[in-house]
């Protein structure tokens, strides 16, 4: 297992290297320059600024420099935002994004598992119908629509939560809910299908024949086995929460990374775009790695391989 994890971490860095290279060259193909909107700069001034950022060098040299910095954990300095180092920019804005992202993933996954499990246990009853209804809602309403609705009713009209503010936990509730809907719907649907399958399997019948009560059969045998495939969708779901977060942060004026990303793309702020892309990729690959490790942890057939069989 340790060897496997080390190998996966090596792959993580390889993947990041490739992603960084591709992004670098793709961005060079973007129309416009970082200073397009600064019309007041004269040609000479522009040349000076470009030289300052190394943009007068051949692309290959720029690339090598950038990658060199990257290896030392340096993502360059932003063209906008007061020439702050990109790492510092990301660092400052990381906390709010991570908080609502993680909260949304946890709330969505846990509630989704519960909802799906109840639907499966009470298959073809009103509980099942209600659960299906909720999960379809969660799946089909885009997070920004939900964000606006929540903001309008719970904040603007009924004053239960702040409209757009970022200070304490209270202010994270609405954005979290808006982002949690999708994972909740997804997990609930997956969980229900899987658990219905598991509940009709032979080992569940054997568990019942041992004298386990219906509740014990679920908690001791059915849940864990149903979770195995659910774990696989956590990775893709983290992706949608991250992308959803960009817009939701804007709606609630949360000083997060998503908001930053949108701003830097509209201003051609190369180092910030690069830095954020690499950072997002890193997060994603990390999530997938964690999910895979979790998967092996839940399913002994993966963890132990097929050794010893027959």
């Amino acid at each position: 297992m340790t060897k496997y994890i080390l190998k996966r971490i090596l792959y993580l860095f390889l993947t990041l290297f490739i992603i960084a290279s591709i992004t670098f060259f793709l961005m060079k193909l973007l129309p416009g320059t970082p200073f397009t909107n600064q019309n007041r700069l004269s040609h000479e001034q522009l040349a000076i600024v470009k030289a300052q950022y190394g943009l007068d060098q051949p692309v290959l040299i720029q690339y090598l420099r950038y990658m060199g910095g990257l290896f030392q954990g340096n993502l360059g300095t932003s063209f906008q935002f007061n020439n702050e180092p990109v790492t510092q920019l990301i660092g400052q804005r990381l906390a709010p994004s991570m908080q609502i992202g993680a909260q949304a993933m946890i709330v969505g996954t846990v509630l989704g598992i519960l909802l799906g499990a109840f639907a499966a246990i009470r298959k073809n009853t009103w509980v099942d119908t209600l659960a299906t209804f909720i999960s379809i809602l969660g799946l089909s309403i885009p997070s920004f629509v939900l964000a606006v609705l929540l903001q309008f009713y719970l904040a603007f009209k009924w004053h239960i939560y702040p409209v757009a503010l970022w200070d304490n936990f209270q202010s994270s509730v609405l954005p979290t809910l808006a982002l949690a809907a999708l994972p909740l719907g997804n997990v609930a649907r997956f969980m229900r299908t899987e658990m219905v399958d598991v509940m009709s399997s032979d080992y569940i019948e054997l568990a019942k024949s041992k004298g386990n009560s219906s509740w014990q059969v679920v908690t001791k045998h059915a849940l864990r086995n149903s979770l195995i495939p659910v774990v696989t969708i956590i990775g893709p779901m983290a992706v949608s929460v991250m992308t959803g977060s960009m817009v939701v942060e804007n709606i609630f004026s949360i000083p997060g990374i998503g908001e930053q990303f949108v701003k830097s793309i509209t201003t051609n702020d190369y180092p910030t775009i690069m830095g954020l892309t690499i950072f997002y990729s890193f997060l994603l690959i990390l999530v997938i790695l964690i999910v895979d490790i979790l998967y092996g942890f839940i399913d002994p057939r993966i963890r132990l391989g097929n050794g010893g069989k027959e």
């Binding site: 399997s201 032979d202 080992y203 019948e205 054997l206 568990a207 019942k208 024949s209 041992k210 004298g211 386990n212 009560s213 219906s214 014990q216 001791k220 045998h221 864990r224 086995n225 195995i228 839940i298 399913d299 002994p300 057939r301 132990l304 097929n306 050794g307 010893g308 069989k309 027959e310």
Partner: protein
């Protein structure tokens, strides 16, 4: 001999989109303490449903409109879910057909074997695990102490069935129900599992209901045999009576389709022609009539009652009615009758 289980007039229906399937249509049998009763019949005849009714492990669309299942005189069909939980795995345990799918793939096998003890008794985890180890050794898992932590996928099919058996016997059940425990295994392993069951029965004195669609494995394990067809029992008696003095044409068919020492695998076996009736609309007369070359007029009209052949041997066929014409059974069956005569006069059957 004490009757520990007495099933009376059991009916089981299933509600389906096409209507009500009458899967079990009035079954009576009993199990004596310490004996092994085999239930044989083609697949689909209702063997599994009959025994699953005992533990009430039936699908949600099932219904038991009539009947009693008396366990020490107590009707199990009247028990609450909680009372049944206390009986399952403690008093009556079950071994399932497919060892590849019967074990929880995500739980170490030691824990799975110990589970019934922890459910039914106030024992510590350590005591339960010690006992699980002992039972795993008893069923022939080598090096059980180390292997308790292993998962099902790390064992072969035969070993997995031994583990399933260990789960069933860990709490010394009074009744062990084995539903085709050897069907999914290859022939050599089959024989080992049957030997194991016999050995365990001697050691822990449990009574066994052994289900199979293969009469061939019955002789090695059973004391009595019940033959099932289309949701009813058609004949029951001791092993000798069923093997050497069979009275029901369906039993004749089963015996003739059974491979013997003289038939090699290439030999064509006479499987019974035709198919069982659709139990959505069970026939009015005898369910076997359409497949029975000895069928008479009455067979289409009325179901035969059980006729007594001996104190332990009954068969439900009109052929045993005093007014029925004498028929000549197939030659192979007549040979069996001859052996039965020899047996009765004190010889041994070879």
């Amino acid at each position: 001999m004490e009757k520990i289980l007495d099933v009376k007039n059991l009916h089981v229906n299933f509600a389906t989109y096409n209507g009500t399937v009458q899967a079990i249509r009035g079954v009576d049998f009993h199990l004596n303490s310490g004996e092994t009763l085999a239930i044989v019949g083609e697949s689909g005849s209702g063997k599994s449903i009959t025994v699953r009714s005992i533990l009430q492990l039936l699908a949600k669309n099932s219904d038991i409109p009539e009947g009693q299942i008396l366990y020490h005189g107590d009707d199990l069909l009247q028990k609450s879910d909680k009372e049944m939980d206390a009986i399952r795995g403690d008093k009556i345990a079950m071994i399932f057909q497919d060892p590849m799918t019967s074990l929880d793939p995500t739980m170490p096998i030691g824990k799975q074997v110990a589970e019934p003890l922890l459910i039914h008794h106030k024992v510590s985890k350590k005591e339960a695990m010690d006992r699980a180890e002992e039972v795993l050794r008893l069923v022939g898992i080598p090096n059980p102490k180390a292997r308790m932590k292993d998962y099902p996928h790390q064992f072969s099919g035969g070993q997995r069935q031994r583990i399933v058996i260990a789960i069933a016997i860990v709490d010394y059940p009074e009744i062990l129900i084995a539903d085709e425990p050897t069907t999914a295994l290859d022939v050599t392993v089959q024989a080992q599992i049957i030997d194991l069951l016999k050995e365990l029965q001697e050691k822990i004195g449990t009574s066994i209901i052994f289900i199979t669609h293969d009469l061939g494995v019955v002789a090695g394990i059973a004391d009595r045999v019940a033959v099932m067809y289309a949701g009813k029992f058609v004949e029951y008696g001791t092993v000798d009576e069923i093997f050497y003095n069979p009275q029901h044409p369906y039993t004749w068919g089963l015996l003739d389709s059974m491979p013997t020492l003289d038939t090699s695998e290439q030999d064509h076996l006479n499987s019974i022609p035709g198919t069982p009736p659709n139990l959505l609309n069970p026939p009015k007369g005898d369910a076997f009539a359409p497949r029975n070359s000895y069928a008479m007029e009455i067979d289409e009209e009325e179901q035969p009652p059980f006729f007594k052949v001996s104190k332990t041997h009954y068969a439900a066929t009109w052929l045993l009615h005093p007014d029925a014409p004498k028929v000549t059974p197939p030659e192979s069956i007549q040979k069996r009758f001859e052996k039965f005569q020899a047996l009765k006069s004190g010889g041994s059957v070879k």
